[in-house]
């Protein structure tokens, strides 16, 4: 069955498969978007944050979505055009779901200024659209339409990993280095959007001394590395035999932490948290936000 889905689906089934994909996307948008849809600070940001920053966030989301659609998506894609189409659909789903839920919660009402309504929906659409694309990988069906009939080519255990890297199936585990970093960026962005709007990020960094911040950095990096290479989750990464541990630490974990810090900085700046704040204090915010960010980055490498 899986084979027939992968190679030449029957024409009649296509709309149905597409609708199922849409449903998964909507479910993903809901599942991953709901914590943010129920966060007061994010509603407020929707009307007071500076419009050029909101615009930049909305723009930055586009390449991330295309990348996600290509890598994960809510249906199998083979070309860039398809990935763009799916990213577009996901963004649309994100907007629709956000608007629907905000109306349901009475957070958007008739008579509100147009810019407030648009702002509230726009900011929620970012995490919701990411969620829409995670729908497929997290809510099922993936192994069915992914890996069908692939194992026929005789892979023996040792060189299987290398085969992966040359595989043509896009969502097979053949991630280039840049893609791996991009994945971490998506994971970090997603978790950051969850927590960055809350006042707690700022409050925590005010409660911390620089010593706490140093410890947080070390622990964040440690958790990132452990998540991916030590704790045996499904999807954990293995190093080829005989490679010292610090190879992966330098090539993936440290750049991953820098990616996470950069995303944290971008999100904090977008939300206007860094305005008129001294640089040391701003760095503390970034370190605090990078803690969930790095967990998100590491988790993204495992689950996507």
């Amino acid at each position: 069955m899986s084979k027939s889905m992968q190679r030449g689906r029957p024409k009649a089934q296509e709309p149905r498969i597409f609708l199922v994909g849409l449903g998964r996307g909507a479910a993903g948008a809901l599942l991953f978007g709901i914590p943010m849809l129920m966060t007061m600070e994010l509603w407020e940001l929707g009307f007071y944050m500076e419009r050029h920053r909101l615009f930049l966030l909305l723009l930055a989301n586009v390449p991330l979505l295309i990348f996600l659609a290509d890598r994960v998506g809510f249906e199998r894609t083979t070309t860039l055009i398809q990935a763009c189409r799916d990213a577009n659909i996901a963004y649309g789903l994100g907007v629709l779901m956000s608007a629907g839920i905000l109306i349901l919660f009475g957070d958007i009402k008739i008579g509100m200024p147009f810019s407030e309504i648009v702002g509230k929906i726009a900011i929620q659409a970012v995490p919701a659209s990411i969620g829409a694309l995670l729908g497929r990988s997290q809510l099922g069906g993936s192994s069915d339409d992914q890996h069908g009939g692939k194992h026929d080519d005789s892979n023996d255990g040792d060189n299987a990993a290398r085969d992966d890297n040359e595989d043509a199936v896009p969502d097979e585990l053949s991630t280039s280095y840049a893609q791996e970093l991009m994945l971490m960026a998506v994971g970090a962005l997603f978790l950051n959007l969850n927590v960055a709007p809350t006042e707690e990020i700022v409050l925590i960094s005010f409660k911390m001394t620089p010593w706490h911040a140093l410890a947080t950095m070390i622990i964040s990096i440690g958790i990132m590395h452990a998540f991916v290479y030590v704790v045996a989750f499904k999807g954990t990464h293995e190093m080829p035999a005989g490679t010292p541990w610090w190879h992966a630490f330098f090539r993936f974990t440290l750049p991953g932490y820098i990616v996470s810090m950069s995303i944290s900085f971008f999100v904090l700046w977008t939300f206007g948290r860094l305005d008129a704040v001294a640089s040391t204090q701003a760095l503390m915010f970034v370190i605090v936000l990078s803690f969930p960010g790095s967990i998100g980055a590491a988790a993204a490498r495992l689950i996507l």
Binding site: Y177, T243, Y257, A276
Partner: protein
């Protein structure tokens, strides 16, 4: 078929030099940041918050006069719930006073707000300053 999805991801045996370059640059960046934070940790003195307020602008609005101010925390400790009071003074008598609360004034950073008076200060002196705060 199912074995594929269960097989752990595996890193390449012969990574491209770019991976090492990125890794080393990242390592250096992290060390720099840690050095910076570490330096702060060692040299920081525990000061109590101290403020400097400045009036930025006065403008007439429907309900009176709005006095916008900026408050700067000169110390290395953040203050929360900072109460800023503004007074219109005529000599030693206070004609009108009003307050604004600033959620946070982070260490060595600025926050801003406004106080609204119902009377126009005109030529009278306007004083704005912090009168209290809490520790976050």
């Amino acid at each position: 078929m199912t074995e594929i999805s269960r097989r752990p991801h595996s890193e390449k045996k012969d990574p491209h030099w770019v991976e090492w370059a990125v890794g080393i640059v990242s390592g250096l960046l992290i060390l720099t940041i840690m050095g910076w934070v570490g330096f702060e940790a060692i040299t920081e003195e525990d000061q109590s918050p101290s403020f400097r307020t400045a009036i930025i602008q006065k403008s007439a609005i429907e309900s009176g006069v709005r006095v916008e101010f900026e408050i700067e925390n000169l110390s290395t400790r953040t203050a929360a719930a900072v109460v800023v009071r503004g007074e219109i003074r005529d000599g030693i008598t206070v004609v009108e006073s009003a307050e604004a609360m600033i959620d946070y004034v982070p260490a060595q950073s600025k926050s801003s707000g406004a106080i609204i008076f119902s009377t126009d200060p005109g030529e009278k002196a306007v004083w704005v300053g912090a009168v209290g705060y809490s520790d976050p």
